[in-house]
């Protein structure tokens, strides 16, 4: 039990996908303008990442591994994740329209999000069990959500800052992201074991 808790805490804080693994930087910079939309994106990623971790675990262990096709896992996972997201989108639009409109444009956007693929590949390389894989995907996405929402809060304030002209826009954004990443690196000083 403590093992599982440790796994989740590590995925959320010390090994945060954005700030220590540098996965999912594109949506992190792209949809972090407002905390609301950032939260929407985070929810969509959490949703997809949990399900994709579950499915890719099955595909790897029951389809690829028996035939010795581990070296094709990247292609297989991309195929699975892309079609899975499409399928979930259609499913939600039909049966859970409220959730569909809440996730909105973000759902198709994360079809090719490297964080989703990253979680699937890490599950395999770390040799997680089924339960661990699902939880790892879920908590890594929670870490993503935490990072993007925090950053959106910072960005909202930056809008009213008056930086030198050369820093306006992306330069300032990247510097700020670096500072937040440094703050997060403080967590890696903790020893959980």
């Amino acid at each position: 039990m403590s093992n599982i808790f440790l796994l989740m805490l590590t995925a959320i804080l010390t090994e945060n996908f954005i700030f220590s693994k540098f996965l999912g930087i594109c949506p992190f910079l792209g949809v972090s303008e407002k905390p609301d939309t950032a939260l929407g994106m985070g929810m969509a990623v959490t949703f997809v990442m949990t399900i994709s971790s579950t499915v890719t675990y099955g595909v790897y262990h029951f389809l690829l591994a028996p035939f010795g096709l581990e070296y094709l896992q990247t292609i297989a996972f991309i195929l699975i994740i892309a079609s899975l997201v499409q399928f979930i989108e259609m499913f939600l639009r039909r049966f859970v329209p409220a959730l569909y409109s809440a996730l909105g444009i973000y759902l198709p956007l994360i079809t090719t999000n490297c964080a989703v693929l990253g979680a699937a590949l890490l599950n395999i390389s770390e040799g997680y069990t089924f339960l661990e894989s699902v939880l790892y995907g879920f908590s890594a996405a929670l870490g993503f959500t935490l990072a993007i929402v925090l950053f959106a809060g910072v960005r909202e304030r930056l809008k009213y800052a008056d930086p030198p002209k050369a820093f306006v826009g992306f330069p300032l954004l990247l510097i700020t992201a670096g500072l937040v990443a440094m703050a997060f690196s403080g967590f890696s000083g903790f020893s959980f074991s």
Binding site: L63, F67, L69, L72, I75, A76, L79, I80, S83, Q86, F87, M90, F91, R93, R94, F95, Y160
Partner: protein, 264 residues
């Protein structure tokens, strides 16, 4: 050599499976959408200005087709929009009179007196918090462009410290009217020929102190108007009734403050 066929077959099967799954899903989970929604949407301007109160043009199109909104709900569509949507919905609808937004302030930099130098966030609401802006006049345009930022049609600009509307670009969606903290942007008929470009309700003596281009309530325009279109509401600010105005221009030439203007 034979080994290569295993992955090829597996991936081909996987790909076909996924393709079939998605094809079936798109049929099974198909959401029936009223074709009129797309037709109505194509009539709307597509600027997503929010003047109608909905999140965007597609949200309004859905509301119109559901019958929650009338076909003339789009305020920014211009002539013909309501008629076209009415034809799709099978009801009679007429476009209203074309309106434009107008900033009712003539207090450009040289005219209006400032009581302090505002050097902070370029946002009218922030300046408004600081004692109602840097101008003495409580109805003077702050000129920091909050309305300019909100306009979806690029019709607003700041000219010499006062916001100005490009009448041809303006679609009268009313977003700027709601945005202005001073509430000095008004919607006026597009074809109105003369209007008083000041809404300061202060007494003439006070207006003189605050601004060289403010209405002092002298009644000269009212007395000279041949059609009785001008009245001084509240006693200190002239306003012209566009329905009665015949466009003779006598008021504009008589106004001692030169603030009865015609569209540029």
């Amino acid at each position: 050599m034979g080994e290569i066929w295993i992955p090829v077959v597996i991936f081909a099967v996987l790909g076909v499976l996924m393709g079939v799954l998605l094809a079936v899903a798109s049929h099974v989970f198909a959401v029936k959408k009223d074709p009129r929604i797309d037709e109505v949407l194509s009539c709307l301007p597509g600027a997503n200005c929010g003047g109608c109160g909905y999140a965007g043009c597609s949200a309004l199109a859905e509301a119109i087709v559901r019958g929650e909104e009338k076909p003339d709900a789009c305020v920014a569509g211009g002539e013909g929009t309501a008629e076209k949507i009415g034809a799709i919905m099978g009801v009679e609808a007429k476009s209203g009179r074309r309106m434009v937004a107008h900033v009712m302030c003539s207090g450009t930099r040289g005219c209006a007196k400032h009581r302090y130098d505002y050097e902070a966030i370029t946002d009218c609401h922030s300046a408004e918090v600081l004692g109602g802006g840097d101008k003495f006049c409580a109805a003077g345009c702050i000129g920091l462009g909050s309305c300019v930022d909100k306009c979806a049609f690029g019709a607003l600009s700041i000219v010499d410290g006062v916001a100005r509307v490009d009448r041809e670009k303006c679609r009268a969606c009313g977003v700027c009217v709601a945005e202005c903290p001073k509430k000095i942007i008004r919607l006026i008929p597009y074809d109105s020929q003369y209007f008083v470009q000041c809404v300061s309700p202060e007494k003439g003596k006070t207006v003189r102190l605050y601004c060289d281009a403010g209405c002092i309530g002298c009644h000269i325009c009212e007395k000279n108007c041949p059609s009785g279109a001008i009245s001084l509401s509240g006693g200190d600010i002239a306003s012209i009734d566009p329905d009665k105005c015949v466009g003779c221009g006598i008021c504009a030439s008589k106004c001692p403050r030169k603030i009865i203007r015609t569209p540029e």
